[in-house]
């Protein structure tokens, strides 16, 4: 409805703005409203830079970390529980000290963050694929398919992430016996996280799809004769990705926290392949004995990582919400 008072103004602003010559894709992005709102929020810029640094440190861990905490041949139990360098009895090799196995905590945090992030990304990705596909199908097809998928989602919602992970861990343990936990823990975590997160995507995508499918561009595509699958993927999907991006960002943070919690409960990554959560869980045992750094530094790293990702997600949600612009 073009005659609503304030939108009229906005439309006019836009119409006149488009008269300016637009050059190149990059400059268009730099010129976009989203990028502008990004720059306007200083805290978001800081969060983005911090996130980028943390991501780089994690993914470049093998190159930037002073030690390799997974190379058992280089760690020595005799270096266990060395405090950070500004404390007494410290060792200049270990800036943030070492954990109970003599692993350098700083390197451990880099590697741990890498594991946390990989698990986060993989599970978010898997959940998104599953949720988006089911959401698209449910929203587009409607009827029985829709109610079936949504009933499944209801059942799924009955089990919060923690329960699902405990369940899946249990099933996996049952099926694979005691097979190499180092190997399986990783996949178990991803599957459990993905299975607990997909509902959100499915519900959101379904909702948006139901809106989008009634829009005339979809009807136009149908009138042309384009098959449903292509309509879903080519036409609807790109238009529902906005909220999906928001959910994905926030989910990444949630996945990292949930993974940490699972590790704390003992069903996450094993101490030989520690994620941030595992590091905290290990350190928790040393909190009262004065070796606080084993828990606190990974805890801070986790909080920092999640906080920054959440900040980005927060901003993205507001920036992409058309109702708030």
């Amino acid at each position: 409805m073009p005659y609503v008072s304030n939108e009229e103004v906005n439309a006019a602003v836009q119409d006149r703005a488009t008269e300016q010559p637009t050059a190149g894709r990059a400059s268009r992005i730099l010129d976009s409203d989203i990028f502008h709102s990004f720059l306007r929020s200083k805290i978001t810029v800081v969060a983005a830079v911090a996130t980028l640094i943390l991501f780089l440190l994690s993914f470049l861990a093998p190159w930037v970390a002073p030690h390799n905490p997974f190379d058992l041949a280089t760690i020595s139990i005799l270096d266990a529980r060395v405090p950070p360098i500004w404390q007494e009895n410290s060792d200049p090799r270990f800036i943030l000290g070492t954990d109970d196995q003599g692993r350098d905590l700083l390197s451990g945090i880099f590697y741990g963050m890498r594991i946390s992030l990989i698990i986060g990304f993989c599970s978010v990705f898997a959940a998104a694929i599953l949720g988006i596909s089911l959401g698209l199908v449910a929203g587009y097809m409607g009827g029985r398919v829709d109610s079936f998928i949504m009933r499944v989602a209801d059942v799924q919602l009955t089990f919060p992430a923690i329960l699902i992970a405990l369940l899946i861990d249990g099933i996996a343990a049952g099926i694979f016996g005691g097979v190499d936990r180092e190997f399986f823990a990783f996949y178990i975590l991803i599957v459990s996280l993905a299975l607990s997160f997909w509902v959100q995507y499915a519900r959101t995508v379904r909702g948006s799809t139901m809106v989008e499918k009634n829009k005339e561009y979809v009807q136009a595509a149908r009138v042309i004769g384009i098959p449903a699958v292509i309509i879903m993927v080519r036409h609807i999907l790109p238009n529902v990705m906005g909220p999906v991006m928001v959910i994905a960002t926030i989910n990444l943070a949630l996945a990292i926290v949930t993974e940490a919690t699972l590790s704390f409960l003992g069903v996450g990554m094993p101490p030989t392949q520690p994620s941030l959560g595992t590091l905290i869980a290990i350190g928790n045992d040393f909190l009262y004995s004065g070796e606080w750094w084993i828990a606190i530094f990974p805890g801070l790293a986790l909080a920092l990582l999640v906080l920054n990702v959440n900040l980005l997600g927060d901003w993205l949600r507001d920036a992409l919400n058309p109702k708030l612009r």
């Binding site: 139990i77 109970d100 003599g102 016996g177 005691g178 180092e182 094993p270 045992d285 004995s289 004065g290």
Partner: protein, 526 residues
């Protein structure tokens, strides 16, 4: 009840709560007391807790020496016949008299279907009541250690059990719980007045106890707290009088904290590493077609690759005694004759090269992570040490439930290399030999806990001799011989006896027994 009275009641409850606190002793343990039936579960904490309400014919003192309890004395009147003279005038908590009938009943019940303590009394032993206060146990062969575990073979009241239809041992398949698993009626120094499994158990002093009470607490409250940190926090914040076990790393903090002290001492449990020496091809390994652990050199290399001192210092914070044999020195007189092989990674490498593994090999290791003191950390340290001699260890640390399901007979001994701990319940070496060191078949017949399945006929032979040998000196000689065979061949890699660490408030006096049993009759609150 209207609101006002509710609040009033609340105030009253709060009031009486604080008044009673003076004589109340509160403690926490990491596990919970699941059922009260003393024959349902053969597990240290359960037996230890129930031992405050129930008593056996014998009991063990602060130094673990066997003392008379419900039996005033006993004698072996024939090689196969033991006679027990029962204490007179003892009453159960419900007022019933303790008589020979109760002993005979208990001896039958402890061997009945569903009991987890069937080994306390040999299956073919007969119980004969001589008179109200005399009982004979007739065996099919000589057994010098018949009564060694009887401190945890608790005597139950036949009359009470029959009245309450609890003669059958509580079994997991019963849909209605056995009366005896929810209530206790023993002769011991404390009565169990309320029991909420997994939440709280309250004991009260038994004023009619037959022995002279050396303790001064009237009420004991037990809460299970599985989390180490929470348990320690509860002690540090003064909410509890005693918690156990405490993590070794918190000993210092507890000692430094005003009002609490850590009580440490040796435990009888021996922690050791075992290796699969039975399969022809090792599981979870990159070595195909053969089993490296069948080669003594490999076992010896593993042994010498492990820096036991580092584990003691860094992992156990000195709360462990490195051990050369599979039993605590407190339980075996000739233990000083054994010495651990030295830590020598160079030699270990050499031995591996000689065995044909110059670059080492990969092996999976199974480890519990909530069973023994710092079990997972020990395994990690071992893995790191082995990495230094070229052996890559894939560590699989799991909660004890899953761990045991995998490595024990029920899981088909599905392990190549594992960490296990063992306390001989009878506090005697025969238990170690027969459980850990005899040959076994694939079903576990023989030594069911010889998970690696090594088989040495000589050890088996010596075990049989030990069982029937009455002369202590000769018996110890036979045992030492068996241990030497194991030591020489490195069938096992014993690590250490782990220590006990209890956290106690300053104003409490109690006795920390090396079998990790906690007896309220030793508690004094100042």
């Amino acid at each position: 009840m209207n609101k006002k009275t509710l609040i009033l009641t609340a105030l009253l409850v709060a009031g009486t709560g604080s008044a009673a606190q003076a004589e109340t002793f509160k403690f926490a343990f990491q596990g919970s007391l699941n059922g009260l039936d003393p024959y349902s579960l053969n597990e240290t904490f359960t037996l230890s807790s129930l031992g405050n309400a129930y008593e056996g014919l014998t009991r063990r003192g602060a130094d673990l020496s066997i003392e008379p309890a419900l039996a005033e004395r006993w004698e072996i009147i024939e090689p196969n016949r033991w006679r027990f003279y029962l204490r007179k005038g003892v009453k159960f908590h419900n007022g019933n008299d303790f008589t020979a009938e109760d002993v005979a009943f208990s001896a039958e019940r402890v061997r009945a279907e569903g009991s987890d303590l069937t080994t306390r009394v040999p299956a073919d032993a007969k119980v004969e009541i001589v008179d109200d206060y005399t009982v004979d146990f007739v065996l099919t062969g000589p057994n010098p250690i018949l009564h060694y575990e009887w401190d945890t073979f608790y005597i139950m009241d036949k009359e009470w059990m029959t009245e309450n239809n609890a003669v059958k041992v509580t079994s997991a398949s019963d849909t209605t719980p056995n009366y005896a698993s929810l209530n206790a009626n023993g002769t011991g120094p404390f009565k169990i007045v309320s029991h909420e499994a997994g939440v709280k158990t309250v004991y009260e002093k038994n004023d009619g106890w037959w022995d002279e009470a050396k303790h001064n607490v009237d009420t004991v409250e037990f809460t299970p707290i599985p989390s180490d940190a929470t348990r320690v926090a509860a002690l540090l914040s003064g909410e509890l009088d005693m918690v156990y076990p405490i993590p070794v790393q918190d000993i210092k903090r507890i000692n430094d904290n005003a009002g609490t002290v850590a009580l440490t001492g040796p435990e009888l449990r021996t922690i050791f590493l075992g290796m699969d020496q039975m399969r022809d091809e090792l599981l979870y390994s990159d070595v195909k077609g053969k089993n490296p652990f069948k080669d003594e050199k490999v076992r010896m290399a593993f042994y010498q690759a492990i820096d036991i001192e580092a584990i003691k210092q860094k992992v156990m914070r000195d709360l462990a005694t490195p051990s050369a044999i599979m039993i605590s020195p407190f339980l075996f007189s000739k233990s000083s004759e054994f010495e651990r092989y030295a830590y020598d990674p160079e030699n270990a490498k050499k031995l591996l090269t000689e065995a044909g593994y110059p670059d080492g090999f990969t092996v999976g290791m199974d480890c519990p992570n909530d069973r023994y003191v710092n079990d997972e950390s020990i395994c990690q340290a071992v893995a790191a040490m082995l990495a230094r001699v070229g052996v890559k260890v894939d560590l699989n640390a799991q909660p004890k439930a899953k761990y045991f399901a995998k490595v024990l007979a029920s899981g088909g001994f599905d392990t190549s290399f594992y960490l296990l701990g063992w306390t001989p319940g009878s506090l005697d070496s025969w238990n170690v030999l027969s459980n850990l060191m005899n040959c076994r078949n694939e079903a576990g017949e023989g030594s069911p806990f010889n998970l690696g399945g090594f088989c040495d006929e000589k050890v088996d032979e010596l075990t049989k001799q030990v069982l029937v040998e009455i002369d202590p000196e000769k018996r110890d000689g036979l045992i030492a011989e068996a241990y030497k065979i194991s030591h020489d061949n490195a069938y096992y890699i014993p690590l250490h006896q782990q220590g006990l660490a209890w956290g106690v408030a300053d104003d409490i006096e109690l006795v920390q027994r090396a079998d990790n049993q906690f007896k309220f009759r030793f508690i004094n609150k100042n």
